[in-house]
């Protein structure tokens, strides 16, 4: 492939989108209103005269007398029930610390991991065997169970969740992910995608039904077959589509990814990283 070097003067024109009518976009330090009687919500502050200013860059939201600013880009905060993808950073006594791209690492307690077999109390043997479950740098998919006093997230690993292997990890801003019924999807019938609410995404090749059965039977002893070239191309294509959507600040959702995927089919996966092609495949 040729080396492509751009002069910023020669980059393709990016198509812009208009904000919805009536929305007020503010920058940090900008005055929202000088009228009295409004309550300040998140993302705002008042000066001595009681005028309301924004302290983040975002969109103003008004609910009756409560004025808040929803920031464009913020660290993932989380809600109970969110499905997230994270990376194990540390093992501590009967718990793991997981990096979920939030303000703090999340905590996954040993007791919150759904082990195969009937539910039972965790014993000392289980504590010593933690490494057989998850080790540092492993990527896992989990659910937000609750919050601790300090605001950090407590995770739980249910059925169909756990360690993720044989795939790639992609990170996008969490503000581009909207809550939906399920976060486990398949794009173009070939690429499995897990879209974590925290902006962390896992892509892997879909397994055929027979392969899924083999995996279920073998359990821990299952060794995945190496991923063939055609599947890798599809994964690369989806990965580049997700990166293109993130680059243009568009919502990351199976529908938008599929649309982008279809538009990308006339290009080689490796050409989807060039600015001109990103522009074409992300056009509404």
């Amino acid at each position: 492939m040729e080396v492509k070097i751009y002069s910023p003067a020669a980059l393709p024109e990016k198509h812009t989108r208009q904000p919805p009518a009536g929305s007020q976009i503010v920058l940090p330090g900008e005055l929202i209103t000088s009228e009295p009687g409004y309550m300040r919500g998140h993302g705002t502050y008042q000066n001595e005269e009681g005028h309301l200013f924004s302290c983040v860059a975002g969109v103003v939201e008004r609910v009756n007398k409560l004025v808040s600013v929803r920031p464009v880009r913020a660290r993932y905060v989380g809600d109970v029930g969110d499905v997230v993808v994270g990376r194990i950073t540390e093992l501590q006594q009967s718990k793991w610390k997981v990096d979920i791209a939030g303000r703090q690492d999340a905590i996954l307690q040993l007791g919150a991991v759904n082990l195969p077999g009937a539910a039972r109390r965790r014993t000392i043997e289980d504590q010593l065997q933690m490494r057989s479950l998850f080790v540092e740098n492993d990527v896992i998919v989990a659910e937000v169970q609750s919050f601790f006093q300090d605001g950090s997230v407590a995770l739980q690993v249910g059925r169909d969740m756990g360690k993720l292997e044989n795939g790639i990890f992609v990170s996008v801003p969490s503000s581009l992910i909207k809550r939906s019924k399920t976060h486990f999807h398949t794009i173009a019938g070939a690429v499995d995608i897990i879209i974590g609410m925290n902006g962390c995404i896992w892509l892997s090749a879909s397994l055929s039904d027979e392969e899924k059965e083999v995996k279920a039977i073998q359990g821990k002893n299952y060794v995945a077959k190496p991923v063939p070239r055609e599947d890798r191309e599809k994964i690369a294509r989806v990965r580049n589509c997700v990166a293109a959507l993130a680059e243009r600040n568009l919502p990351i959702h199976p529908d938008t990814i599929t649309e982008c995927y279809r538009a990308s089919l006339k290009y080689d996966p490796k050409h989807l990283i060039t600015p001109e092609v990103i522009e074409v495949i992300t056009k509404p």
Binding site: V3, K4, V139, V227
Partner: protein, 286 residues
Amino acid sequence: KKMLKSLSPSEIKFVEEGVAQNIRVDGRGRLDYRPFSLETGIVTQANGSCRLVLEDTDILVGIKAELGEPDAAAPDCGTVFVSVECCPSASPEFEGRGAEDLNVELAKFTERLLRASGSLDLKSLCLIPGRQCWALYVDVMVLDSAGNLFDTISIAVRAALATTSIPKVNVIEKPGNQYELELSDDPEDSLKVDAVGVPVAVTFSKIGAFDVIDATLEEELCLSCRTTFAVSQNGSFSSTQKGYGSTDVKSLKDQVKIARRVALQIIERMDAALHTEESSNRPKIG
């Protein structure tokens, strides 16, 4: 977005298998380069500057020319000094003193690149042999990193030097072996630094049994050896650097051929991009 200190064994295996099949995570082949942009003349306080943006890698180079004394070993040449700073915000491993070793390695390598014979025309920077010369201070800031720092820094530095202008100096001889230097006030009355011979670096990251160029951050976490070659526009090699790991002679021979091909293409495209920029007359900011 910066969560990477290491990958899980499964992810490393996935990357290695992909590289072996010549299809990397983003669909590129082993010898494909990511697209990037070059913008020069953006720091108007500096004599020359360049900003290179390649995916998330963001490099800013500023070049200042000051009057100084030549090195005793090379009295008829100017001097050049390089400093590199990887911003702590660019990557978790740069926090605190983490980037110190990397800063030194990158700076020393880039300095060697520029001081090698045939690279920068240092003789043209001499004013009074043995007494006064121009000293070029090249400051590189790595604002954000998506891998491949050696190559991108060498490209950005070459672009900055190619667009660096130094005021013309009139040397007036005075009695008693004294000299007076008259610097021209007119900003248009300046000399362009001759950076045609400055080489460009091509780094090979060995992943499994194969080499890739322009590695991403994730790929750099999977490498077993890193070798860098600096090639200039006439195809000659000025320096090499081996980082982490060990390699074999056959790999080196293959790498040398590829490095020349890639570097020459980069130099050709980069000169074309700089030429487009010069003729576009975009207003400068800052």
